[in-house]
Symmetry: C2
Subunit: 234 residues, 2 copies
């Protein structure tokens, strides 16, 4: 197949960032490189949707994707984001169920695909790789449990404060100290489980209090200490 870009090589990816493949043997890494497929995916594209059968897992080499569920009356609930080094879709593949989430690219991405067969081949051949995947799943599970407690018990204001810190942590900041992710107000609302208007009002409130700075979708955290206090995390 003729590709118009340099396909990432699993070995490089593995060296550069710590991927789930770090316990694979050199020949297994080669097997992976030869058997994966890889695509550039434009912002706005839906990779797969809730209910789809997916036939393999996706490994993110570049870009940002949002993983969400569609709830009551189409309202989306963002579960998490995926970025360089993350693997998505494994849940559905492992338990042979249709996807329970949808995935949309929100920043131009390069995504590699590894089919179920190849995944199982590696899982059976290399138990360390299985343990590695188990670690990923367990980590995600811990995050999900925290999320449940937060949504159930915290106020919208506390959740917003927490998510801002969390986004800064996960995506870092650019030279101007602006958080490296571009979300609409609605997406922030769908992340913390509230209405768009509530997010807007609270962001203005934070801005008025000198805790953050806003320029359109750009968010800069000026007083992380105060934000942390507001978020009620210890």
């Amino acid at each position: 197949m003729n590709k118009f870009f340099d396909e990432p090589i699993c070995k490089d990816c593995n060296l550069e960032i710590k991927t789930i493949f770090k316990k694979l043997l050199p020949e297994q890494i080669d097997f992976l490189t030869q058997n994966k497929t890889c695509n550039i995916i434009k912002k706005g594209t839906v990779l797969y949707q809730e209910g789809n059968r997916i036939s393999g897992i996706y490994c993110i080499n570049k870009g940002i994707l949002k993983i969400y569920k569609t709830g009551i009356e189409g309202k989306e609930q963002i579960i998490k984001f995926a970025k360089k080094g993350d693997v998505i879709g494994y849940r559905s593949v492992i338990i042979s169920e249709p996807a329970c989430t949808s995935v949309k690219v929100i920043e131009d991405a390069i995504v590699c695909f590894i089919s179920s067969q190849e995944l199982y081949h590696l899982l059976k051949e290399n138990s360390e790789f299985g343990i590695e995947m188990l670690e990923i799943a367990c980590k995600e599970l811990g995050e999900a449990n925290n999320y449940i407690t937060d949504i159930a018990q915290k106020s919208v204001k506390e959740r917003l404060a927490e998510i801002l810190l969390h986004l800064k942590d996960e995506f870092g900041v650019n030279n101007d100290d602006i958080i490296n992710i571009n979300l609409t107000r609605e997406e922030i609302a769908n992340l913390i489980g509230t209405a768009t208007e509530s997010v807007i009002r609270l962001l203005s409130e934070f801005k008025a209090a000198g805790i953050i700075e806003l320029q359109g979708r750009k968010i800069k955290i000026k007083d992380a200490v105060k934000l942390k206090k507001m978020s009620n995390v210890f």
Copy 2:
């Protein structure tokens, strides 16, 4: 050590119910039986608490345990229950972190303990077992994602309706059609993330509408169809 009860044998447990150990070889099952320890644990006992380092996983042979996190001002958020055949604590062991939840016995239990060393021994030796554990983790992850969407988007009434159906499903009913789990109103509230009073009011409302019957903590579902409609699940 002198035991005052018949310790469960892993082989029997494995035959009787489908445990995560079903892919183990006979000699691995024997290894397990010889190396596990087993205890009767009385209702009310705390098995471990959030923040504790735990040195292995627990396999439930009998009884019911509640797994919960302690949130704002000590308010507990119940994450899930564990019963016969369930395994708990693996998350912390796999990622070598302190427990992120506490576990309390709410119905007299028999619990087997398998140390981290033994667990890793089996995981490394038998990749199928690792896949099995991965399946458990992925299943739990899917449930957690659903939970997040529910708590974030549904009303308290919808969540209560849903949880009643879910409890019936998970624990079944006795001869009198009463759900086989004994929860305080507060525990139901901590499960769906609301106040105790709200649960009480809504349960009375459901009762008045002829959807359920109540006798103390005993709950009988009379109209599952209506309840399902109310819960907004499709």
